[in-house]
């Protein structure tokens, strides 16, 4: 299974390595760097790289590469999924996962990695269990530990590990019992030049933060559960009950977790809440280009649209933009050629608009295509 793990920062430093079997020299990462050099962006590095003796399987998260080294046949998705779980665990522990945070908490990171894999095979990956084995660092506990001489590491086996609900720790107590649910829905749409929707789909998530004492058994029912025809669940959800009654019944883990995610495919009709009216003309009589974009709401059922951000990756030849907005702020990064317009809330009475000129590099080849516009 997984032989070793190297964590590499964007500048190509291997700043942490962990071996679960005998040591593999970090020179194996050179193959990875070869591919990194070839790729135009970090996203383009293939997740699996075959070298003469090893297989490098990598994920790219928070601008770091997590490169797992395998020597034998293994399901690549298994490794990829595990690496993502590792990063998720770090995020859960340290609230974010960056190079400096990993360096700062290297001991906890190392202990976690040691607990999560044994001989390259996942051992404990549930955050509830790990948190019982290794306490997440926080200031209060650090002080308490220095005073009392206690450590972050538990000496007893988390009971969850042995039970049939490995995701929940036992003996949870809260004075205020609370449960919060976040519904997140993302609409992905491709819209063609003329403004008609080529395809649109919805990806939704229900994220929970559950702070309940004891062993709560929750059920969540939906007004119209028939909408969910393609779902995936956290292991705590009783699948059969969902199948028969369309009720989510589960004993939740303690803390934050993703209860379910669902996908509404391109077959069904998806309402897109905004429209974009654009006119973009690059190369207009020598001086440069002209840009005029207006945003407007569409099928919102009376709700206001907030936090609108518009991103336009500009062609390479664009030097700068001189734009005026009637709402929000815009930034243009001359290095990545990305124009970002943070619109904020869309007011129906005064539609947000951005217009102005774009200065182009003189003598550059003509821009052959108009850039695409991402709205989020």
């Amino acid at each position: 299974m997984i032989h070793s793990l190297f964590i590499i920062n964007p500048s190509g430093d291997v700043f942490m390595e962990k071996h679960w079997k005998s040591v593999i020299s970090r020179s194996v990462c050179d193959y990875f760097f070869d591919h990194q050099r070839k790729a135009s962006s970090p996203e383009d590095i293939p997740p699996v790289i075959a070298t003469p003796h090893h297989y490098l399987i990598s994920v790219y998260r928070s601008s770091m590469f997590f490169v797992a080294v395998c020597t034998t046949e293994v399901a690549p998705l298994f490794v990829v999924e595990f690496l993502h779980r590792v990063v998720d665990t770090f995020e859960d522990y340290f609230s974010e996962c960056t190079e400096s945070i990993i360096k700062e908490h290297y001991v906890v990171v190392y202990e976690l990695l040691d607990e999560m894999l044994d001989n390259g095979f996942p051992l404990a990956t549930e955050s509830n269990i790990l948190k019982e084995l290794i306490k997440p660092p926080n200031i209060l506990r650090t002080i308490a530990n220095t005073v009392t001489g206690k450590s972050n590491v538990s000496s007893t086996l988390p009971s969850g590990q042995l039970s049939n609900i490995p995701w929940r720790r036992t003996g949870v107590k809260y004075t205020n019992n609370e449960a919060y649910f976040d519904m997140i829905e993302e609409v992905d749409a491709i819209i063609d030049k003329s403004g008609s929707t080529v395809c649109a789909e919805i990806q939704g998530y229900i994220d929970c933060c559950i702070k309940l004492s004891g062993m709560p058994d929750l059920s969540l029912s939906f007004v119209n559960p028939r909408l969910f025809d393609d779902v995936s669940f956290h292991p705590c959800v009783r699948f059969k009950r969902w199948e028969s009654e369309r009720v989510l019944s589960f004993i939740p883990p303690d803390g934050n977790f993703r209860l379910m995610s669902y996908h509404i495919g391109s077959q069904s009709i998806v309402a897109i809440p905004v429209y974009v009216r654009h006119s973009l003309c690059l190369r207009e009589s020598g001086s440069g280009g002209r840009l005029d974009i207006t945003l407007g709401p569409k099928q919102t059922l009376g709700r206001t649209i907030e936090n609108v951000v518009l991103e336009i990756p500009m062609p390479k030849s664009v030097l700068n933009c001189g734009l005026v907005t009637n709402q929000g702020k815009y930034t243009f990064d001359p290095v990545s050629k990305l124009l970002v317009w943070e619109v904020g809330r869309i007011d129906v009475t005064k539609l947000p608009n951005i217009r102005g000129t774009i200065s182009l590099q003189s003598g550059s080849p003509p821009v052959e295509a108009n850039p695409s516009i991402n709205v989020s």
């Binding site: 202990e111 993703r258 995610s261």
Partner: protein
């Protein structure tokens, strides 16, 4: 905390520790505590002295600090091996965190410092006997991770002990240790397989995943070890952790390929036909229907597919893909498409996941187009995708293209051509070419589109189009003279060598269509020959030779000139080619003997009609690898890849998988043997079936969960105790048992024994198991029934260390440590929750009649009755249905499932039970009040009613809101005021003997149509009344037993048939009214 004396004794003579010469003084420690003092660090010769000093101190926090810094060095990949002696002696530290870090360090460096590492071994050996399971496990983990060949025998012993440990966690660690030891010393294989075999038999979800992982690493060829565990693995699958699931499914795919016959060999056509309709209502299709669809499928094969299917809903992409590959490789063709939707869902995951899933889809799509066609739009490229994702999507789009969908795909491809990403644009143009050649209808449109691209501003686009057009023209060169002319003109402008070469080749091939232009182009090329790329030069030569053959008058000299230039080229390929061509075309140059035989044939050689290239997906040849494997992804055989065997023509003996009961018995639920052998086998099967009655039970049980946890806890801990008693008895009875110290669960010894017996006489395993359960009735029944009902609680229970009298003290002590795990865990995971929880009732009854066991209802009737009519109540309709599962509140209550449906226009709020009867022993446990019910929606609830053994309707009120009250009457059929029980046949006869006279009702009945088998009546009877089937030796008699809910009076029903038509029904019951009503009911139901 830690006496210095101990410290020095453990340091032994270990190395030249700084400390040995000068015992730590307080001052020295103080100096060392300042880790920031960089001076220490920089001086090379004693760079780690401060760390050593800290490690030798007797303060835990100093040691910890030092260890943390050392681990920091290890993590950064810096050399820290010279600290080994100083670190290793801290392995005895009492501080758990120091110890852990020492372990981490030890595992990293032990290989390099073998001799010193041996010093730590005794500590681990001691820790292996520790009462704390976490310490035992971690000791084994570290011990087996120390890669020192010298300790192989020690590790072997440790693994053997741990494999028989009572803690499943330790057993899991043992499973992990097996491949470690195997990689260290391959000679241990045989011995390890023995241990592994034992671990594979384990029934704990925690262990099996790791055991299968070890199996895959150590002996994947020993497929015979899986036979006996196959069904268990299938049924435990949903409860195993995600990582274990992936490994198990991958292994079972291989198993299925070697043990079952190809499901797609027969009735292919039928499958194709039935494809569509089944797809939609897949979830409703019950098991029997599925059987009908694929009648040839082995029941075990079906079991595997059925138990893997819910995992498509897993959050873990690896699990989903492994199920997908299981279906892809082993499922009947008509069922494979079920996995498509889940695979599409994965496309919204991380980039890396997308990439791997798309690769799998691309490979699948070449063979199963229909499967992904409905999801065509999901493969449309987004501008935010990474390039390799875009390329994969293009690949899939082109393989999915059909006559109907090609229009929409081409439209997309057109947009892609205008994108910014050069490799992607090139791929899009190629994709257009592939669509064009695959689908004849659009070839011309595509060709026109491609030709228009020739005037594109972008060189790369033009070049790519040229290459693609060249390929297309080869397929139908007839009528495209204009295109060739247009392309010939491009020679002046196009600079991309690949494109130039393509144009030249085209001109040469079809030179007779453009007789004027071709020689001119050759002239131009001859001029620039020296500055061209190699690939272009080669084509110039080819063009020259071809023209020379067709039009020697104009071009012979040119050709000679070109060949002459090539003769002195730097590239040896070109020189070779030139020499070779010259000798064919101009043989006279070499010798004056006239045309040779070769040159006569030159025209045939160079202008032979050439087959057009067939553009194919480069994913086509991946079929040989297991989908989703590393080898499949990189399309080469990876190290350690296990070939997927082809389906055998003749299935190997399916009996090999028989463990206790015959598979036939398992497949049909309500039969005598299946019912009676209330073993774990049964319960597992239940957790997997999808029949509606079970979901009712389940719903009930989880409602109980909601109601109160406390009671549940009590009851199950009571049960535990009972079970313990039981086991003591039972295990003392088993004398020839292996010298195993611990009995993990009551199920364990029994199955062990049976397996032994199984091997001796495998043929009549079913009869054997029946008699087995009979003989063990006394001891095993009380626990096996709750067991059956609470499969979910099983792992928790199994972890219950039940200690035999002779077990040693250490193990007894361990009980304290484990105790937190006792908390009854009732949660079911994914699939497990179907089984009803055991209820207090079982306990009560066991005390009353130790030999009469409550049984779960085999059938739960689907008949619903109306409690509240929508007309009476302005829109609220309530229906009820008896679920036949005991109500949690009181065992004497029957639970009815209520369905509330709001037909009215308004929202109904606060629906609850109003006044209810209090007299006559009748009582009601309310359903949970419903705060609001919106129009058109419906909700479920459960109500518990104690009918006090009467069939009088129970009257109560339903209240809606603050002011509306509706009286309702809950009528109960007599079959629902009793509860099924089981007992032995002797007991039945004995009880029947005691209920003669007034308590006996007899009726004669003749059936309208004769039935061949009495057993076929069982279903009818069980639908009407909640009765338990009694095992029976006599085929002309059927016996059923039940107890009334409230008073627990026994109800006995026997059915005797003289011939196939005439029946005698006898009902014996203390409650005469119940008896007579029941017999009337039974008569009525059997008559029609």
């Amino acid at each position: 905390m830690y006496a210095p004396g101990v410290n020095s004794s453990t340091t032994l003579s270990s190395s030249s520790s700084y400390n040995n010469d000068r015992p730590p003084s307080a001052e020295a420690v103080e100096v060392a505590t300042d880790p920031a003092s960089g001076g220490f660090f920089n001086s090379d010769y004693k760079k780690h002295d401060d760390l050593k000093q800290m490690l030798d101190s007797n303060k835990d926090n100093l040691k910890l600090e030092a260890m943390k810094r050392i681990i920091g060095m290890v993590a950064k990949g810096r050399e820290a091996s010279d600290l080994f002696p100083a670190v290793v002696k801290n392995v005895v530290s009492k501080n758990i965190e120091v110890k852990k870090l020492v372990y981490v360090y030890l595992v990293r460096y032990a290989e390099e410092q073998q001799d010193l590492a041996l010093l730590s071994i005794s500590t681990f050996q001691r820790a292996l006997k520790d009462p704390n399971q976490l310490i035992r496990a971690s000791a084994l983990r570290v011990l087996s991770s120390i890669r020192v060949t010298m300790i192989v025998p020690i590790v072997m012993l440790a693994i053997k002990d741990a494999a028989a440990d009572m803690s499943p966690y330790v057993r899991k660690t043992a499973a992990h240790a097996i491949p470690k030891l195997y990689s260290l010393d391959q000679d241990q294989k045989e011995e390890l397989i023995q241990v592994l075999e034992k671990l594979l038999y384990d029934k704990t979800t925690l262990v099996v995943g790791s055991a299968v992982m070890a199996f895959e690493e150590v002996c994947p060829e020993r497929i015979d070890l899986i036979h006996k565990n196959f069904r268990k693995l299938c049924s435990l699958l949903v409860d195993v952790d995600e990582w274990g699931q992936v490994v198990i499914i991958n292994m079972l795919t291989r198993y299925a390929r070697s043990q079952f016959t190809d499901p797609n060999l027969q009735d292919v056509d039928e499958d194709e036909e039935s494809k569509r309709p089944f797809y939609e209502d897949e979830n409703e299709v019950d098991e029997e229907q599925q059987e009908k669809r694929a009648p040839t499928l082995d029941p075990d094969h079906r079991l595997l597919l059925r138990s893997a299917k819910p995992l498509l809903q897993s959050r873990n992409a690896a699990v989903v893909l492994s199920v997908a590959q299981l279906y892809h490789h082993t499922a009947p063709r008509s069922e494979v498409h079920q996995v498509a939707k889940a695979m599409i869902r994965l496309l919204r995951s991380h980039r890396e996941v997308q990439d791997i899933v798309l690769t799998s889809i691309a490979a699948t799509a070449t063979r199963r187009k229909v499967m992904f066609e409905p999801f065509l739009k999901s493969f449309f490229v987004r501008s935010s995708d990474a390039t390799h994702i875009k390329l994969l999507k293009l690949e899939i789009l082109t393989s999915l293209a059909t006559e109907s969908s090609v229009g929409i795909i081409l439209r997309e491809l057109q947009t892609y051509v205008a994108a910014h990403d050069p490799p992607f644009v090139a791929a899009a143009i190629q994709a257009i070419g592939r669509c064009a050649s695959n689908i004849k209808e659009v070839t011309d449109t595509c060709l026109n589109g491609l030709v228009s691209l020739l005037s594109n501003k972008d060189q790369a686009v033009v070049a790519e189009s040229v290459v693609v057009i060249k390929k297309l023209l080869q397929t139908q060169p007839s009528a495209h003279r204009e295109i060739i002319i247009q392309m010939a003109k491009l020679v002046d402008s196009v600079t991309v060598p690949q494109a130039r070469a393509s144009i030249l080749w085209l001109l040469g091939e079809y030179s007779e269509r453009v007789p004027k232009i071709a020689p001119d182009v050759l002239r131009k090329m001859a001029k620039t020959f020296t500055s061209e790329e190699d690939i272009v030069k080669l084509q110039v030569m080819t063009l020259a030779v071809k023209l020379c053959l067709t039009n020697p008058k104009q071009t012979k000299l040119l050709c000679q000139y070109v060949l002459q230039l090539a003769k002195y080229d730097q590239n040896y390929d070109l020189r070779d080619r030139a020499r070779f061509l010259r000798h064919i075309i101009f043989p006279a140059d070499a010798e004056s003997g006239g045309p040779t035989r070769l040159s006569k044939q030159a025209k045939k050689i160079f202008l032979a009609p050439k087959p057009a290239p067939v553009p194919e997906s480069h994913f086509k040849d991946r079929e040989q690898f297991q989908l989703g494997s590393l080898s499949h992804y990189i399309n080469t055989k990876a190290n350690g890849y296990q070939e997927l065997p082809p389906f055998p023509l003749e299935a190997p003996d399916p009996k090999a998988r028989d463990v206790e009961t015959e598979p036939q018995v398992m497949e049909q639920a309500p039969l005598f043997t299946a019912k009676k052998v209330s073993s774990k086998k049964d319960s597992k099967f239940y957790s997997d079936t999808e029949s509606p009655d079970e979901s009712e039970e389940d719903e009930n049980s989880s409602d109980e969960d909601d109601d109160d946890d406390e009671e549940e806890e009590d009851s199950s801990s009571d049960k535990d105790e009972e079970e313990d008693d039981n086991e003591d008895e039972e295990s003392s009875g088993l004398e020839e048992k292996l010298p195993k110290k611990v009995v993990k669960s009551n199920a364990k010894p029994k199955s062990d024994e049976e397996e032994e017996e199984d091997e001796s006489d495998e043929d009549d395993s079913s009869s054997e198991s029946v008699s087995d359960s009979d003989s063990e009735d006394e001891s095993s029944e009380p626990s096996s029934v709750p067991k059956k009902q609470t499969r979910n609680a099983k792992p928790a229970k199994e972890s219950t260390p039940v200690v035999k009298p002779k077990s040693n003290l250490d193990l007894l002590l361990d009980l304290d440590d484990v105790s937190p795990a006792f908390t009854p865990i009732m949660t079911p995971s994914l699939g497990g929750f179907l089984t009803p929880m055991s209820t207090p009732s079982s306990q009560v009854k066991t005390q009353l009649f130790p030999d009469i066991q409550p049984a779960s209802a085999v059938i739960s009737p689907n008949t619903t009755s109306e409690l509240l009519n929508k007309i009476n109540s302005s829109g609220l309709e309530i229906k009820y249905r008896f679920t036949r599962s005991p109500h949690l509140y009181s065992p004497s209550m029957a639970s009815a499932e209520l369905t509330f449906h709001n037909h009215g226009p308004d929202e109904l709020t606060d629906i609850r039970v109003g006044e209810k009867p209090t007299s006559g022993g009748v009582s009601i446990h309310d359903f949970a009040p419903i705060p609001s019910l919106s129009p058109g929606s419906s909700l479920m609830g459960t109500i518990g009613v104690d009918f006090a053994d009467s069939t009088q309707p129970v009257n109560f009120e339903i209240k809606i809101g603050s002011d509306r009250t509706y009286p309702v009457a809950l009528k109960v059929p007599v079959g629902e005021v009793i509860r099924a029980v089981t007992m032995s046949e002797e007991l039945f006869l004995k009880q029947q003997g005691g209920l003669r006279g007034m308590n006996e009702n007899t009726a004669k009945l003749s059936l309208t149509k004769p039935c061949s088998d009495l057993k076929s009546l069982t279903n009818k009877i069980l639908t009407v009344a909640n009765l338990g089937v009694i095992p029976n030796s006599d085929s002309s008699t059927l016996r059923f037993a039940a107890q009334t809910l409230s008073s627990k009076s026994t109800v006995l029903v026997s059915l005797l048939s003289s011939d196939n038509q005439n029946l005698t029904i006898t009902v014996n019951c203390e409650k005469m009214v119940i008896g007579s009503m029941l017999i009337t009911q039974l008569k009525a139901c059997l008559a029609d």
